[in-house]
Symmetry: D2
Subunit: 415 residues, 4 copies
Amino acid sequence: MTLLADLLSTVFDRRYRSGPAARDDSRPLPDLASALVSASGETSGLALARSYLDRFEQLDDGEKLAVFHDLAEAKNIDPTQVRNTLAAYEADPSKATYRAFMAAAEPPRQELIRRLNQVPGATARLVRMRADLLRLGRGDPALQALDLDFRHLFASWFNRGFLVLRPINWESPAHILEKIIAYEAVHAIDSWDDLRRRLQPEDRRCFAFFHPAMPDEPLIFVEVALTQGIPGSIQMLLAEERAPLAAEDADTAVFYSISNCQAGLASISFGNSLIKQVAADLSTELAGLKTFVTLSPIPGLMRWYTAQEAPPPIDTSEALRATAAHYLLKAKTEGAAPLDPVARFHLGNGALVHAVHAGADTSEKGMAQSAGAMVNYLYDLGKVAQNHEKFATEKTVAASPEVRALAAGAARAQA
Amino acid sequence: MTLLADLLSTVFDRRYRSGPAARDDSRPLPDLASALVSASGETSGLALARSYLDRFEQLDDGEKLAVFHDLAEAKNIDPTQVRNTLAAYEADPSKATYRAFMAAAEPPRQELIRRLNQVPGATARLVRMRADLLRLGRGDPALQALDLDFRHLFASWFNRGFLVLRPINWESPAHILEKIIAYEAVHAIDSWDDLRRRLQPEDRRCFAFFHPAMPDEPLIFVEVALTQGIPGSIQMLLAEERAPLAAEDADTAVFYSISNCQAGLASISFGNSLIKQVAADLSTELAGLKTFVTLSPIPGLMRWYTAQEAPPPIDTSEALRATAAHYLLKAKTEGAAPLDPVARFHLGNGALVHAVHAGADTSEKGMAQSAGAMVNYLYDLGKVAQNHEKFATEKTVAASPEVRALAAGAARAQA
Amino acid sequence: MTLLADLLSTVFDRRYRSGPAARDDSRPLPDLASALVSASGETSGLALARSYLDRFEQLDDGEKLAVFHDLAEAKNIDPTQVRNTLAAYEADPSKATYRAFMAAAEPPRQELIRRLNQVPGATARLVRMRADLLRLGRGDPALQALDLDFRHLFASWFNRGFLVLRPINWESPAHILEKIIAYEAVHAIDSWDDLRRRLQPEDRRCFAFFHPAMPDEPLIFVEVALTQGIPGSIQMLLAEERAPLAAEDADTAVFYSISNCQAGLASISFGNSLIKQVAADLSTELAGLKTFVTLSPIPGLMRWYTAQEAPPPIDTSEALRATAAHYLLKAKTEGAAPLDPVARFHLGNGALVHAVHAGADTSEKGMAQSAGAMVNYLYDLGKVAQNHEKFATEKTVAASPEVRALAAGAARAQA
Amino acid sequence: MTLLADLLSTVFDRRYRSGPAARDDSRPLPDLASALVSASGETSGLALARSYLDRFEQLDDGEKLAVFHDLAEAKNIDPTQVRNTLAAYEADPSKATYRAFMAAAEPPRQELIRRLNQVPGATARLVRMRADLLRLGRGDPALQALDLDFRHLFASWFNRGFLVLRPINWESPAHILEKIIAYEAVHAIDSWDDLRRRLQPEDRRCFAFFHPAMPDEPLIFVEVALTQGIPGSIQMLLAEERAPLAAEDADTAVFYSISNCQAGLASISFGNSLIKQVAADLSTELAGLKTFVTLSPIPGLMRWYTAQEAPPPIDTSEALRATAAHYLLKAKTEGAAPLDPVARFHLGNGALVHAVHAGADTSEKGMAQSAGAMVNYLYDLGKVAQNHEKFATEKTVAASPEVRALAAGAARAQA
C-alpha cells in the first residue's frame, strides 16, 4: 500500500505546484489550437495547452460557442484526405499507410483534447469544458458530432479499470462531503446533520467512484441502507428518530439513491459497475446480507398517466400499485425500451421489478411525479447476467410474479 | 492528501480482491474477441475480458502470433464501410452519421483493447501483451499496423497528465527497488549494496514515473548525482569509496542514467518530461543548483568509426574527443537526424552538446562502444524550448563553442 | 513516509478490531483493581483491564466516586513500607533495595492506570476517567492527591515529543471538524458555514496537536488569521463578507483563538508549544510574515473593575483602554502573577502586551467580560526566551511603551 | 484512516525539520542536567535538552560513564527530603503534601529523562543512551539502580497500548528490511535473496512492533511459516528449493524466529503480546489455521549436559530427545524457573512443551548449543491463560504426554 499512498500524495502536490499561470499567448484560440496540434515538442506544447485552457475558462458563453464551432468545423476530418489515405492503405497495407489513414480518420480536435490533458489537473477542466459543450450545443448537429469526440476520449480515460471505489463516511474530508450534499439528486440532503444521518449510523453506507486524476471529485455515488426485510417507504427509511440496526443483523442492502456528479461525464456509464461492486463488497463484509434491492422513484409515472386517454382511477393504494406495475412493465419508448428512465437503468443492469409500493414517497416531489408510489428493483447476483442478456437481446422485462399479477390486474381494469 | 492515500489503497486492495479466476470460456480466442467487442453489457463483457486475458497469457509464441493475426486481419477496418459512412456523413453531417463514421474508421480491435482494460489490473497485462506483439511482429506489416492501435491507446492512457513522478530512495519498497536493479540499462547495478550507494547518500537521487493503474511498475527512471562542477568520468562518479557531498553544497545535477522499464511501452515517450520535471523539482528544493547536465554514453561511436573509409587515428585523447565531437555533430541518419540515438533523444529534448570526454567510461561496454568516450548534454532551462524548436524545424544541433571547435578540428584532420 | 502511513492505519484498524466486549468479571471493582495490579501475566491482565474500564464507564456518579475513593485510599502508598525500604536502600544502596524503594514510593494506583492503558484505545478512556475525577473530586484532598497520579502519568504519555501537529482545514475529516465546532471555547462557531469561513480562505489557518493513541481527538487547537497589520476588532476579523487576502501578501499572523479540547488533560500544558511551533512553521512557509500576535479577550477585566473601591469611569474608549492596560500590567494574584488568566498564559510563554483596543469585541460575551476591550500579545520570536525568563524569575510583565504609557495614565487618573 | 496517515507523515517531516543543531551550551553536562531539570519554561528547556543529547552522543565511553555517575549520584533521591515530605503527608494528607512527597520520592533524573524526550526524535536517542548504560554499567550497583529509572519510564512509554503491529513483507521499505537482516538473532539471514525467501512466498509472514515515536525502528519481530503439520527441522523449513504452500491450505503457523531489535529496550517485554496478537490476526485471516506452534532452539542444553556429573549417553536420536525433554522439564534455576531461557519465555507466556526433535538444527550453532535438537512450544489459545497462571503461581511446566513420557524415560535412564 505504501507506494500507492505516495503516488497519490504526489498527484495532490502537483495540483498546488502547477505553478504560476503561464504568460498568455495572445493569439486567437483557433490559432492556438492549430499550433498545439502541430507542436512537435512537449515543452512548447504544454505552454500552449495551459494558455488554451486558461483563456477558454475566462470566455463568456458566446465566445465559448465560437470556440466550439472552430473545433467542430476547422478541426474536423478532411474527407478527401480520409479517402486518399484509405485508398493508399488498401493498395498497399503497411505500417506507413495505416498510420496515415489513422491520422486522417481521426479529427485533429481529438489530438487537441489529448494534448490539453497533459497539463496537470486538466482532466477535470476538460470535463467542465464538455459540460459547457453539452449545455451550449443542444440541437446543433456539428456540436453534437464534436461531443462524440469528447465522449470517445472520456470513455477511454474513465475506463472502469481506472476508477477507484471509495467508501464515503463521516470520516471523509469535508470538501468531498459538501459535494455529496450538492450532488444528491434523488432525495435532497438539506443540512450537515441530515448528511450525518446518512453516513454515520452503522446501518448506513455510501460509496463513490473516483478517478486518480480528479481525486477531489466524486464521479457517481450510491447511498445504501442496511435493513431487515425490504422497505416500502423512503420517509420511514430516512426517519430522523429511528434506531440504527446493528450492521451484522441486516439481511438486506437497499440502494436508495444513486447520483451522477459530473454533467461533463454524461453518457459515460458508471452506475452499473457501481451497484454491482458495492453489492459484492458488502456481501463480503457482512455475511448476513442476502438481498440487494433498490427503493427507487418512478419519475415518469404521473406524466405518462395523465397523458393516457382513459386512465383508470388510482384512488386506492391497490389501484395505484397496479397502475404503477403496468406502467413499469408495459409502457415503452418508440424503441421498445421501458418508458421510465430509472426502470431502463436498473433493468438494463440485470435487475428485476420486485415490488411496487403506494404511499412510499410522500414528499412534494414524490407525490407530483408518482402520486407517492415507489418500486424495488431486485439485484439477484446469480441472475443479473441472464436478466441483462434477455433484456438486451429480447427486451424482456424481468419481474416478480406479484408485480406481474398486479400489472395484469391493471391491464384487465383498463380493458 | 488524505483522500488520495485512500484512493490508492483501494487500487491495491483490488489487485488482491480481483477474485478467483473466471471460469474459462472455452470458445476460440477469436470468437471470444468478437463476442467481447459486441457484448452489450458490462457484466458479461468483464467475464469475457477476463477469460481472454487469462487464456492469452497461457499461450505459446506460435499461438500468440495466431491471436495477433486474428486481431490484425479479422478485427481490422472494413474499407467499404469506411467509405460508405464517410459518404453518408458528407451528404448529411449529423451526430448519427458522424457516429457511424467514427465506428467504421476505428478498427474493432481498438474497442477490444479498451474492453480488456476494464478488468482490474489489466493495464499492466496489456502492456505485456504489446511487448509480445513487438517481439513477435517484427517485419510483418499487418502486425506493425496492429501495433499502431495499441500505441494509439497507450499514448492516450499514459498521457503525461496521468503520470506520477516519485522519488525512489532507500525507504522505497523492496519490490520496487528490485525492479530498479533489474531495469537499469546504462550502468548495471550489481548488488543491493551497489543500489544503496546510488540511493542513500544525500548527493544521490533517483526519480521514476508511475501510472496509477500499474502502481508496482516504474515506467522510466533517472538516476542523478549532485556534484560540484561537471564530471567527466562515470567511474569516478560511482566510485565506492567517495565521500558524499552535502546536498546544499552542490551546484550541478548530473543525469547519469535513464532507463525505460517497460518493453511494451516502446515509443510512448516519457523521458523528455521526466528530465525536465526532475530538473524543475530539484532546482526548487536546492537553490544552489545552477547546472543540469547529463553524463551520457555515445553508443554508436565505434560502430560508425569502424565503418568509415579512412578513419583518422584516435590514438590520443584529443583525437578521440575530436572524433567523438565530429560524430555527434555531423554523423546523420538518412533523415538528417543525428546518427547517435542518445544524441537524438537529448537534442530532441532541447539539450545541447556541452563537452566530450576521453577515458570517461573504462568499463568493457564503454570501451567497446565508444573507446571510453562520453558526453555531457546540457539542459539550459532558459534555452531548452528554443533549442528544441530549432532542432525540430531546422535540424540544427546545438553545441558549445568548445565542442564545435573540436568537431571542426576533426573535420580538418579528416580532410 | 510510507511505513508511517502504514503504522497509523494499523492503529485505526485496531480500534475496530478490539473485538467483542470481554465477558465481565463480576468481582467488585476494587477487587478487580487489586487483581490487575498483582497480575503476573499480560494475558489475564488485559482481560481484567478491559473489564475494569467497561464496567467503570457504566457506573453512575455516586458509584464512580466510590471507585475513586478506593483508588485514593486502598491503592495509596504505605508510609511504613516507604520508610522501611528507604532505610534499607540507605543502608545498602543496590539495585534490589532501590527497586524495592521505587515500588513502595509509588502508589499501586499508578501501576493500575498503566495496566489499564494496555487495552487498545484505553488512553482516551483514561482521559475521560480523569475528567470524571476532576468533576467529582473537587474539594476532596484525597481525590485531589489521586489526581496528581493521573497527571503525573499523563504528563509522561503526552510528552511534547509524542505529540503531532496537524493542520486542520476544509479537507480534514468531518468527524474531526465537528469536534472543532464543539470545542471552540473563545469565539463560538455557530454552523458548518461559519467553520468553513475559518478554514477554507487562504488567509485562514488552523492547527491542532494530536496524540497517536487518540487519533480522532484533537488535544488543543489554534485558529490563525493572516493579515496586513495588527487587527483591533474580532468582529472585523471574522466578518462574513470580507475579501480574503492572498496568503503571500500577509505580514502578520494573528492567533485569535486557542481552545483546549480535553477536560481530562487539564494542567497538561500544550498551548505554549503549539503557538511557537505554528509560528515557526508559518514563517517557514510564508516569508512575508514578520509579526506573530494574538487578538485576545480580557476575561477578568470587568470582574476586577467592579470589585474596585473607587473605579475610574470608563466612559470613553481612551479611559477603557487605560483601565485595561492598568489591569493587565498591575492587577495581580496573591502569588504576584497577573490576575488575568489569559495574560498569565501568554506572558508565561514569553509574549508581551503589545496593544489594547476598545470596541474590539462587541459580542454579548465580550461586552460582559471586558466592556468590549481586547488585547494583542506579541510573540517576538527573538525575545520570547528572554521575556519568559524574566517573567518566570522576576515576575516582570513585558509590555510595549505605548501600553506602559496607557497604564501609567490610568494609574495617574486613579490617583 | 486518513487523519492517521497524516499524523504519521508529520512525524516523519519533523525528523527532517528538527532543524540545525542547537548552538551548544558549553557548561559541563552535569550542570546542563541540573539547569534542565529546574528550567521553568519549555523554550529554554528544549534548547538545553537538545544540547545535552547532542553532546552526550559525542562522548567516549569513559566520559559517558562519568555522565551516568552524575545521574546516579547527584540526581538521586534525597532520603531526608523523602522522609520529611512523607511525615508531612502523613500528618496532613493533602494535595500539597502529596505533591511534595511525589517530587521527593522520584529522583530528579527521571524528570531529566522526560524533559530530554521533548526533543523531536529523542525517544530513539534515549533508547540508545540506555543501551550505553547497560553496556557500561554492568556490575555497578549505582548504575544498575539508575537503569531502573530508565526502565520505569520506558515501560510507561512503550506500553502495549502505544505499540503498533505491522506486517513486514517484500513491499516494506528497504531501510526497514535491512534492519530485519541485521537484527535477526536466531537463524541468520545471509543476503537479500535469503530475506526475500522469508518474506515473499505466500506461506511466509513476518510481523513487527513499532512505536510511533520511532517509526524507522522495529522493536521486535517474529518470522512465521505456514505449514501442513508441525515441522521438526529448521533446515527443511527454510530450504531454498522448497515449493511454497498456498496460504489457505495451511493448518499450522510456525513461529520459527523471534528477535528483539533494541538493546536499549532490554527487559521491556513485548514478545508475549507479539505472538498472541499475530496468532489472533492470522487465525482471523486464514480460517484453516488450527495450530500455533514454535520451532525453537534449546540454547542451554549442551552447556547443562556437559556440566552433569554422569550424563547418560546421547548417541541415539531417542536418547538425545529424552535428554532434551528432561532438561526442558526438570532443569531449573535457583528460583525454580526452567533453566533454559527460551523455555522460560514461552512457558511464561502460557505455551506448553509439545514435541522434541533430534537432527532438527544441523547448523554449526545448532549442533554446538543443543546437538541439533529443537523443540515445539504449542500455543493453544484456549489454554494459554490457564497454563500461564499455573506456571506463574505453581511453577508448573505444561507439556504434552509424549514429552512427559520422554522425560520420564530419561530420568529412568539416568537413575
